[in-house]
């Protein structure tokens, strides 16, 4: 049957996947620490009907040949680690990372996960945890009755206790960096997991060895730009539509071919 049917079909599949990625970005426009993804496409293989460069005579070559493409494929959904907007919340346990790095949290099964979502809380034992209750690593516990918590740009956490004017240091936050953060695996719930592609994590104190600094009482919002996503959505929809036109056209051409025989 006609190649164009499958070629245009691959185009529709690719644009559908593109819309899926765009919708997820838009759905997470207000998710703290969310990083947008983007679909990357590549052309599929080519069928060589006539080899370019083949000899067409004793002293002449075919200059271009005939190569017919077979459509497109989605090759990656790349996470883009540009900085999101900072929002002042006033909450002492809200932290944003200015620069590179991730917070490290311990999952219930003991493995480590990584996040840019800095909306931390304390649990019943005073430990600093994520909204899901996963502990920050290294663990930091806030003593009961602490009247104020201060987190410095370099990650030193200190509290003021009642009847005590001097503040007391209770822990040191660490940030984790990866050679290739785009290679981290998204687990959902704002968490990321190490993979072979991301490389091993390197932990350091905020502000050292290229790690970002901590901004207390701020949250990093998503880096989704609504206008960009809407434009991408329009582009993807039109591309989808044009590919469907290519399908109907080749279908009608096949109909004509079938109609030749009366």
């Amino acid at each position: 049957m006609m190649r164009a049917l499958w070629t245009a079909g691959s185009g529709m599949v690719a644009q559908q996947a593109n819309i899926d990625v765009i919708s997820n970005n838009i759905a997470n426009v207000n998710t703290t620490g969310f990083k947008k993804s983007r679909s990357d496409f590549q052309d599929l293989m080519y069928q060589t009907v006539r080899q370019p460069g083949a000899n067409s005579g004793a002293d002449s070559q075919i200059p271009t040949g005939i190569q017919i493409g077979h459509g497109v494929r989605q090759v990656a959904t790349q996470k883009l680690y540009t900085v999101g907007n900072f929002q002042n919340t006033g909450n002492p346990l809200d932290m944003a990372i200015e620069g590179d790095g991730f917070f490290q949290v311990t999952m219930p099964d003991g493995t480590l996960a990584y996040t840019r979502d800095g909306s931390f809380k304390t649990d019943s034992q005073g430990r600093i945890v994520t909204s899901e209750g996963y502990q920050l690593e290294p663990a930091i516990a806030v003593p009961q009755g602490a009247t104020s918590i201060e987190i410095a740009a370099d990650g030193v956490v200190s509290v003021t206790l009642p009847n005590n004017t001097a503040s007391q240091e209770i822990g040191q936050l660490q940030l984790v960096r990866f050679i290739n953060p785009a290679g981290l695996l998204s687990m959902g719930r704002n968490l990321l997991q190490e993979t072979n592609a991301s490389g091993a994590p390197t932990a350091s104190n905020p502000g050292q060895d290229g790690a970002g600094t901590i901004v207390q009482r701020y949250l990093e919002m998503s880096n989704v730009q609504v206008v960009d996503e809407m434009v991408n959505m329009i582009v993807a929809q039109r591309a989808y539509e044009m590919n469907s036109k290519a399908i109907t056209t080749s279908d009608e051409m096949l109909g004509i071919a079938a109609g030749l025989k009366r």
Binding site: Q15, R38, D43, Y46, P63, Q78, M242, T249, M253
Partner: protein
Amino acid sequence: MIKGIYTAASGMLAESIRTDATANNLANVNTAGFKKDAAVNKSFADMLISRINDGPVQPVGSVGTGAEVDEIVAIHTQGMMRHTGNPLDLAIEGQSYFAVETPAGVRYTRNGAFSRNSLGELTTADGHAVLAENGRLVVNGSSVTVSEEGIVSVDGIEAGRLRLAEFNDEKRLIKEGSSLFQDTGAGQKQATGLVRQGTLEMSNVNAVSEMVNLINGYRAYEVNAKAVQAHDQLLDKAVNEVGKI
């Protein structure tokens, strides 16, 4: 049988291949660095017709015998530039190509949606290393800047210079799929392209002209089909009416 049937059918075949090429362009309308294909038709060799039935043999002219797709040629014009803000997205302004190391050898691409692997090397989405003038390029650092000349600096320290390739005869680059071009003797010259960081070159497919090509191919196909039918009707008359005793 009647020549015209084969002539018109060759036209249908050629238009069908042209439509395939158009469909591939439309499928890749959002593929970064994609270069559109144009299908060029040519006529078969003409046949010389001679008068032989009465009197001396005399040439009376020539008649065409149909059309075929002569070449499908990639059009290497600049695609639209799209700003992405991602430091590893690189676009080339001008005629140059990025050199990429694949298991099959060095290939060339205009698709600059690069990323890093776990060793910090700059790679394509397929994981092929992007080549600098002295081998692979390690961009392991928090800030990567690329100058217009292709000099890559990581945290302010020069890490290497991108290997840009420019060709004398771009027609000799053949498409391999996966956004890669293979050099089949195109002849390299001094690269003049400028690298734009944080930008992707989109495909150079013009949606409007491809839609026009689609209509054009469809109608040409339809007209050729009508010619086949007309010839068929003529044959029908010749066989069933003229031949009636």
